[in-house]
Amino acid sequence: MKAGDNREAVLGRVLGPSEPELTCEQCFEELDRYVELSVAGDPADARVPGMRAHLDGCPACAEDFASLRDLVTQEGD
């Protein structure tokens, strides 16, 4: 934890998302579809329920999502 972390960030990390979320395995399985929906501007969160909550709760999966999104976006440029 870094100095200057605010209250909400710490509570968010400790208590995590309150809504239902995917597991890490399910997240990896759906990641490519979710990324393509996101990049296309489609309603990814509605199409892949539980993904957003998992990405909010799992820093490692959130990094994997950001990397794939940025790579796919770069490829599309």
Partner: protein, 212 residues
């Protein structure tokens, strides 16, 4: 139209080509490996700040290992490709995962997992911002008490990942477990903490609604 009928969709073409015998299959594997290597270099490049001591040659070795491991995983799981995304997007996620895990583990090589004491002081700091007063002090004191009441594994994972910022892959390796299993521990710990705080009548706002 004629062209579309004559050309297989690229996703199907990738799978068929990778399954081909002989030179065509080998060419497809080589082509895929090149794409995976590109993805691994992309990931390692963006995470270079986590590996300031790693030389260019070492980074390239890491990228090659990640591409090799991703290729093996993909060839094992080819039947699982459902065509719900482009084949390359599906394949990239394996290379990015392998590269990210390798970078996180390398960045933590030789480092000790931080002690619980470090988490407690940081938790106390987060619970004492100006202008919030006794209510927040009570919440954070209760939070620490309830974290200490968690089962050993749940507490260990929560403190390391959520408070001390240890990457879950690194912790999984140290504990001889998997990311998925540890995330289940983390998820259960969070659920138990929420329930415990609610039973104490403590309202937990992690959004901005209390800031207004």
């Amino acid at each position: 139209m004629a062209t579309a009928l004559m050309t297989a969709p690229p996703e199907i073409s990738w799978v068929d080509r990778l399954r081909s015998e002989g030179a065509e299959g080998q060419a497809a594997v080589a082509e895929l490996h090149a794409l995976l290597l590109k993805a691994a270099r992309f990931e390692i490049g963006r995470r270079g700040v986590q590996l300031p001591h790693l030389r260019g040659g070492d980074q390239e070795d890491l990228a090659q290992q990640a591409a090799d491991d991703a290729l093996m995983a993909i060839l094992r799981k080819l039947d699982e490709f459902r065509g719900e995304s482009r084949f390359t997007t599906w394949a990239y996620k394996f290379a990015l995962l392998e590269a990210a895990v390798k970078v996180r583990k390398r960045a933590w090589q030789g480092r000790e997992i931080p002690l619980e004491d470090e988490a407690w002081s940081a938790l106390a700091d987060a619970g004492a911002p100006a202008g919030r007063g006794a209510e927040d002090a009570e919440l954070f004191a209760a939070l620490r008490e309830e974290i200490e009441r968690l089962g050993e594994r749940q507490r260990e994972v929560l403190v390391a990942v959520a408070l001390n910022g240890v990457p879950i892959d690194v912790l999984a390796e140290r504990l001889g477990s998997t990311r998925g299993a540890l995330y289940k521990n983390l998820h259960d710990a969070r659920r138990n903490l929420r329930a415990a705080l609610a039973s104490r009548g403590l309202r937990v706002g992690t959004g901005g609604e209390e800031e207004a």
